[in-house]
């Protein structure tokens, strides 16, 4: 019997009672799954904690679901709706494009553009052979005629390529010329390369067409018995300003286009101006045809826009300054934005469903291993009622979604100081490109993954999951420990997500006296940053319950909040680096990179910011003198001794994994107090480049006093305040000893004060004291 495997996703990540959420399920080895709505309480199976905890919640869709095999189209490409089949040219034609292949010798044919049925060998196309040679071909079903270049295309170089067929004579010509300038390609002018090839052949016949073949760019129509139509021959690389003519363009005409000239109107069927459509606010997925028929092309799996084109001069670093130099549309054969599976089941959320972390639990076969699946989502209240909002860092969940670090990142063992600990689900993901990648990965062609989405199964956004490269819970399952703590302490709390914060701004937070962050809220849009800052300035009381937060600038689309864009650059530690000229987010037109490089270090709103990371061990905090100030005694009330958090589910300490620090030079409010600090970290903890601009020996944990976490507190305007815990491991210390420990006590002390109406406990002392004066 085949192994039972169940995977699924939902159309939304944040819903309210009375709304409908749609589930999509793929099944292998079974056609039935037992479904149950559950409320998730704790997701870490570490033996020092309470283990996995869920509560079954009766719902209208509990029971047996019919499930089936689903298919996922991976790869990004452009499809041109052409109901009148104007692009189905039967006679003479010319195809052309500027191209920048990323992996010309990938081992399968890559399709550039044309109208071609790969299963039935009908139509015409321009592409790249498995050996890297440019090729033009026509087919009539029983036979294919082709002409190929003499010189293989090289990776990361710009070319202008074209192919023509003279229907009267059968003469087919191929045109390939390099268009390398000082900036646009991996090799410059001093390399003795001849990139050109001009070849002609006589074709024996003319192309035929099938009615339903789509005109595609970066992929071609294919067929599978079970799956039906799909797209194969996926291309890795950029295409800039492609066109189609119904006549043979002369060598001189093609030379003129190659030199930047406007293509002639005579014979133009379509000319896709990939630089059209840019706005100050970014660009979408539609590529404009400025030819006579306006046959615009739609992006599938989000081809990357805002990329440099063939004529990028190096002077302008953003499409907003010179859109005409940003015609590169970038395709990846393993891109995935949306699985687009057939819907399996929908749930109308009951009116009395309490806010929290929920999932549909699916079990098939024995209901264990890959036969058990959780499809998570979060339920907000219809109207905010809780005293506390737990802000779920879903943007960061997306950034880490289905990361492949243990398998594909050579650095990861050196970075973590340990060996990856893999489970069956990790192997299953690695074997199947249909899971897509996260923003810690590169596509197979080597370019960094700048998009992520939850419209696909996200295996690490699941209870019980442990990040394989570090063997701890991370993001979603780690944040469930905070849920477990809130439940255990019987706090009146609601949950909401980054998506809600991005869409609604400060009004999403303002009903709550106290907001609690997740353990690693690393990825923030500008709207999220603004809302958080405004909330605190307006009197909100914020607990930053983690570390390395508010770090990367990312963006969501207004109309597609399930997708995230992230450009990695600047002085942050990064899994990949955006190319020169491609530092701006196509979604919004804003510059990407670390918030610190944009003038908004996290210290400015939270008092602390990223200083170091390390794995395998954590450390305790030691109380600092400010904690003994009588006005601040309420923070450590009931805590005996100097040591806080010498325990935890993340390497045995509350200070560790990633840690933040107080830094006046980066904008920590001068009235900030340091309640406790950690030290004594191992040399696996390195000082971050934002503090140590030049590397030299002696800046790791056992050498450098800066490698430590600071628990800080500062009062903000209008009775607002911020407590920053400055450690990812802090949240994983909460569940130890049945939640009865001094980390739990400290957090409860602060939350109790933050949710109490009226001024903060230290406000009267502050009023009597002179303002802090900086003496440095």
């Amino acid at each position: 019997m085949a192994q039972v495997k169940l995977f699924g996703y939902a159309d939304k990540i944040s819903v309210k009672p009375g709304e409908v959420i749609q589930f999509y399920v793929n099944a292998d080895g079974t056609d039935a799954a037992d479904a149950q709505l559950v409320r998730l309480i704790h997701g870490d199976n570490h033996p020092d904690g309470p283990g996995f905890v869920e509560q079954e919640v009766p719902s209208a869709i509990d029971g047996i679901w019919r499930v089936e095999k689903q298919y996922t189209q991976i790869g990004s490409f452009l499809e041109v709706p052409d109901p009148q089949r104007r692009l189905a040219l039967g006679g003479s034609l010319t195809l052309f494009a500027f191209i920048h292949p990323l992996w010309p010798q990938v081992g399968h044919r890559q399709f550039l553009l044309g109208r071609w049925d790969n299963d039935k060998n009908v139509g015409f196309g321009l592409g790249i052979k498995p050996n890297g040679l440019l090729e033009f071909w026509v087919g009539r079903g029983d036979e294919v005629d082709y002409v190929e270049a003499e010189v293989p295309l090289r990776a990361n170089m710009w070319y202008f390529v074209a192919a023509s067929l003279d229907a009267a004579t059968g003469r087919a010509t191929l045109y390939q010329e390099g268009v390398v300038n000082r900036y646009n390609s991996v090799l410059g002018k001093v390399t003795p390369l001849d990139l050109r090839s001009h070849v002609a052949e006589s074709f024996r016949f003319r192309q035929k067409h099938l009615d339903d073949t789509p005109f595609l760019m970066a992929g071609s129509r294919d067929w599978h018995d079970r799956r039906g139509d799909f797209v194969s021959q996926l291309y890795c690389g950029k295409i800039d300003r492609p066109g189609l003519f119904d006549r043979v363009l002369s060598r001189a005409e093609l030379d003129a286009i190659r030199s930047g000239g406007v293509p002639p109107s005579d014979g133009m069927v379509a000319y896709w101006d990939t630089t059209d459509g840019y706005t100050d606010q970014g660009i979408g997925d539609v590529v404009t045809d400025i030819g006579p028929h306006k046959l615009h092309a739609n992006g599938y799996n989000r081809p990357v826009r805002a990329q440099t084109g063939w004529n990028w001069s190096g002077r302008n670093d953003c499409f907003r300054l010179a859109p005409e130099e940003y015609g590169g549309v970038e395709f990846h054969a393993d891109a995935l934005i949306d699985c687009k599976w057939k819907p399996t089941k929908a749930l109308l959320l009951a009116d009395d469903l309490r806010s929290g972390a929920y999932a549909i639990r699916l079990r098939g076969g024995g209901g264990t291993g890959l036969g058990e699946e959780y499809i998570p989502f979060f339920v907000r209240p219809k109207q905010p009622t809780g005293r506390i909002a737990f802000l779920i860092p879903t943007a960061s969940y997306l950034a880490y979604a289905n990361e492949h670090l243990s398998f594909d990142a050579p650095i990861v063992q050196g970075m973590s100081g340990m060996t990856p600990i893999l489970t069956d689900i990790d192997i299953e993901m690695y074997k199947n490109p249909e899971f897509g990648h996260g923003c810690y990965d590169s596509w197979a062609d080597g370019q960094g993954v700048c998009y992520s989405s939850y419209h696909r199964p996200v295996i690490n956004m699941r209870p019980k999951y442990r990040i394989s490269s570090m063997d701890i819970t991370w993001q979603y399952p780690a944040d469930l420990s905070v849920i477990a703590w809130l439940e255990h302490m019987q706090y009146d709390y609601d949950v909401l997500t980054d998506e809600d914060l991005d869409r609604e701004g400060v009004s999403a937070l303002s009903p709550y006296p106290c907001v609690l962050s997740g353990t690693h809220p690393e990825y923030y849009s500008e709207r999220m940053m603004d809302a958080t800052e405004d909330y605190i300035e307006g009197g909100g009381r914020y607990i930053y319950l983690g570390a390395n937060g508010y770090y990367w600038h990312v963006a969501f689309r207004d109309d597609e909040p399930w997708g995230l864009e992230c450009r990695k650059l600047g002085d942050g530690w990064k899994a990949w680096e955006a190319r020169p000229g491609e530092h701006y987010i196509g979604t919004t037109g804003q510059k990407g990179g670390p918030w610190k490089c944009l003038g908004r270090p996290p210290q400015k709103i939270m008092g602390v910011g990223f200083v170091s990371e390390g794995f395998g061990t954590s450390a305790p905090f030691e109380r600092m003198p400010d904690s003994y100030e009588p006005s601040l005694a309420w923070i450590t009330d009931g805590i005996e001794g100097d040591v806080i958090g010498d325990f935890g589910l993340s390497y045995g300490g509350a200070a560790g994994v990633e840690i933040d620090k107080y830094d006046l030079s980066l904008g920590t409010p001068p009235n900030t107090k340091v309640i406790a600090s950690s030290g004594g970290h191992t040399d696996n903890y390195l000082t971050h480049g934002q503090l140590q601009l030049h590397q030299h020996p002696g800046t790791s944990g056992s050498w450098d006093h800066r490698v430590g976490a600071d628990i800080t507190y500062f009062p903000a305007p209008n009775d607002g305040a911020v407590l920053s815990c400055s450690s990812i491991a802090f949240g994983q210390a909460l569940p130890v000893n049945g939640f009865d420990n001094n980390v739990s006590r400290l957090l409860a002390n602060v939350i109790n004060a933050f949710i109490k109406p009226g001024p903060l406990p230290d406000s009267s002392e502050r009023a009597a004291e002179p303002e802090d004066v900086l003496v440095t």
Partner: protein
């Protein structure tokens, strides 16, 4: 001109030369003391000889690098070796079961030391 560009990576020549020298040096660091230090504490702060050995082992090419496979969470593990090739799963190393992450880490260390010395 159709210049043929030889794409053999000359950096590899230097890397191999460095490897030869580095391995000769690292062999001198292997001692019963270092092995016992690793057995007691496979993860965390180490002496310089042990950390140099580990840093070298952790930077071997991905193909063939060891990883730990969970057989039963927190109770049983075995060793696998990464393929270094996208989409190709790790291959089982053998069927030996280790009762803890530390035991598995130490078994990998011993194998890496053995390879270094041969």
């Amino acid at each position: 001109m159709n210049a043929v560009i030889d794409t053999q990576d000359r950096a590899e020549v230097r890397r191999l030369r460095y490897e030869t020298k580095q391995r000769a040096f690292l062999k001198t660091l292997v001692s019963p003391h270092v092995i016992e230090e690793h057995r007691r504490s496979p993860i965390g702060q180490h002496s310089e000889p042990l950390e140099r050995l580990l840093a070298y082992f952790r930077r071997r090419p991905l193909a063939g690098r060891y990883a730990i496979m969970v057989v039963k969470p927190f109770e049983a593990y075995r060793l696998v070796q990464l393929s270094g090739e996208r989409g190709v799963p790790p291959a089982p190393s053998d069927e030996t079961i280790y009762r803890s992450q530390a035991e598995a880490e130490h078994a990998i260390f011993l194998r890496n030391v053995q390879t270094l010395l041969t």
